[in-house]
């Protein structure tokens, strides 16, 4: 079991700052996802941990020892890449055995370990298949088996599922998580897919423009986003602008809305309020926080999604998404006046 510490990493390419002051700690056997949009620096961070890129400053520590000058082939980190990275001239079994052969392990041990890994990823019977004879999902399974075969200190996964179709993606990510838990390997998983990151991670590091926006459990990231970026990138959010008044009240379009997070800002501050669709409730007219009119509704099984137009908005296209559940909303239809109630505890309030 291995701990990983990324300490104050800075990386630039010419004038472009890819990473700035990235610091995070990973516990033994933890599954951490680097999540963010394209160009946020998540893959650069992973490649620095792997040793394929060198940081301008800062350090990567494995079990407390800095490995910044260590060559990638000496770091003992298994890696699965986004592009299918199997060696085309080798069969599935030879691919998995490659790292073991490099380590000059006895032939019999190499063969049994490679076979064991292929069995683990559900590819018994495909030992003699070349990469071009396998589907994308199978190739990534072999790549995973190959990375695990060398008993790596850290497993690095660089968007390994992004080239696969939706069904395979879900099943393979569950397999990856199950195997990771079974082996207890500290794992870094790079993805731009928030659902993927929230589903399988112990903790998620959200990056934007080379900076760490938030590092926390999936629940924390979703329910208590540390910034407007995190709230906007992870899940859906309704955005309101308003002015902080006295006693945790925010004036939104002339309505006084009580929000717990507003107390952190001095009166008169212009703020942005971010509210999850499920943190709103629709009330009768005259009740709730913001008077509004229903535009449309979508039945989604366990819940119903309403698109409502706040009355204070002059822009007719401005909408608030409200996800509600229960039969009491069955009567509501387009054109009916309602009041939007915002959950005071969960709304995020940030200064503009």
């Amino acid at each position: 079991m291995t701990t990983v510490r990324v300490e104050n990493i800075r990386k630039t390419y010419g004038d472009f700052v890819a990473l700035e002051g990235l610091t995070l700690d990973m516990a033994e056997g933890e599954f951490v996802s680097f999540l963010g949009p394209s160009g946020c620096g998540k893959t650069t961070a992973l490649r620095i941990v792997a040793g394929f890129e060198f940081a301008d400053s800062g350090s990567v520590l494995i079990d407390g020892t800095a490995i910044d000058t260590m060559a990638p082939n000496r770091r003992n980190m298994g890696m699965v890449f986004q592009n299918y990275s199997l060696f085309p001239n080798m069969t599935a079994l030879e691919n998995v055995a490659f790292g073991l052969r490099v380590r000059k392990q006895p032939a019999e041990k190499v063969r049994s370990r490679a076979q064991e890994m292929l069995d683990l990823v559900g590819l018994s019977g495909k030992e003699r298949n070349f990469p071009h004879q396998m589907s994308g999902g199978q190739q990534q399974r072999v790549a995973l088996a190959r990375a695990l075969a060398i008993e790596p200190r850290v497993l690095l996964l660089d968007e390994p599922l992004s080239a696969l179709d939706a069904k395979v993606r879900v099943s393979l990510r569950n397999e990856i998580r199950a195997i990771q838990k079974e082996f207890g390997i500290s794992t870094i998983f790079v993805t731009h897919d928030q659902e993927e990151a929230l589903t399988i991670s112990d903790r998620v590091a959200v990056l934007s423009q080379g900076r760490l926006e938030q590092f926390g459990s999936p629940e924390e990231i979703y329910r208590r986003p540390a910034s407007a970026f995190v709230a906007g990138f992870v899940g859906e959010s309704n955005r309101f602008t308003g002015t902080v008044g006295a006693g945790g009240i925010v004036d939104i379009g002339g309505s006084a809305v009580r929000l717990d997070a507003a107390a952190a800002h001095p009166a008169g501050t212009e703020v942005e309020v971010l509210v999850r669709p499920e943190s709103t409730v629709l009330r009768d007219p005259g009740e709730g926080d913001l008077p509004a009119t229903i535009i449309s509704q979508q039945f989604q099984g366990a819940r119903t999604r309403f698109l409502v137009h706040p009355d204070y908005q002059s822009d007719p296209t401005a909408t608030v998404i409200s996800d509600v559940s229960g039969t009491r909303y069955d009567e509501l239809a387009a054109g009916i006046a309602v009041g939007i109630e915002i959950d005071a505890k969960s709304a995020l309030v940030t200064a503009k």
């Binding site: 890696m79 999902g137 099943s171």
Partner: protein, 266 residues
């Protein structure tokens, strides 16, 4: 519903194929027929005379030796160059491509005079031997060798394969020998084939340096024995074909450096 569409015979397509076959085959057939004629009618005299001429075997030996040496040195130079350009200096790709074409902009006589001066200073011992032709042949085959290798490298995801090998513990030498080169076999064989054909067909430089390579011998024979020159030309073409077939068979047997295709789904 049954398919009622009438199957049309692609006459146009066949006409084009037939035209091409005639265009390429007719001169060869004519060459073959001519090489098997003599004043007395059909004859293999031209072939017998060539086979009995010791100078022919000397020329064949010299050309093949030069071809082997040139191919080996050319690959030793170009394989690392192409890999280096792709992995370490992609910004120089267009420059290297331009350099490989430079030789076609220089007249052979200028090339010979200029390069001879250079070789005289660097390796004077080379000038008295037929191996003086090797550096010229290497330069002449640059464009073909580079392109054959470049195409092979482009078909591989070199960076990912290198990173994958390194993450599994392989050093640079093992990465190149166990992962990259085996996947470039077809490209390397193609480059070797092109280099050999350049050497076997080159006349001007060997003539200027006064070495009796196969093309020079062929030209000499042509001045006195027309059938003999035709027989030599036919043998050269057949040898090149055999070489090409050999390269195809070998690359197929070796697995041909298959490139992973992207298929999604389990």
């Amino acid at each position: 519903m049954s398919d009622t569409r009438r199957r049309t015979i692609p006459f146009g397509r066949w006409a084009v194929v037939l035209g091409c076959v005639l265009f390429f085959a007719a001169p060869l057939v004519a060459l073959a027929l001519f090489s098997f004629t003599s004043k007395a009618g059909w004859s293999t005299d031209a072939y017998t005379a060539i086979a009995k001429d010791p100078q022919f075997w000397k020329s064949v030996g010299l050309s093949l030796t030069l071809a082997v040496v040139t191919t080996a040195l050319s690959l030793l130079l170009m394989v690392p160059t192409v890999l280096w350009v792709h992995m370490r200096a992609p910004q120089y790709r267009s420059l290297v491509e331009a350099i490989t074409l430079l030789v076609f902009a220089v007249p052979p006589i200028t090339l010979v005079i200029g390069a001879t001066g250079l070789l005289l200073g660097l390796v004077p011992a080379l000038l008295g031997t037929p191996f003086v032709l090797v550096p010229f042949y290497i330069v002449l085959s640059f464009a073909f060798t580079y392109r054959a290798l470049d195409t092979g490298v482009k078909a591989l995801d070199l960076r990912t394969l290198t990173d994958a090998a390194q993450s599994l513990g392989a050093g640079p030498v093992m990465t190149v020998t166990r992962v990259i080169l085996p996947n470039l076999r077809t490209a390397i064989l193609g480059a070797a084939f092109l280099t050999i054909t350049v050497v076997l067909g080159e006349y001007v430089l060997s003539s200027l340096f006064l070495y009796n390579t196969l093309p020079v011998y062929m030209a000499d024979v042509g001045t006195t024995q027309a059938q003999g020159a035709a027989a030599l030309a036919l043998m050269t073409v057949l040898f090149t074909w055999l070489l090409l077939i050999g390269v195809s068979v070998v690359s197929r047997r070796l697995g041909g450096g298959r490139v992973t295709t992207t298929i999604t789904g389990a």
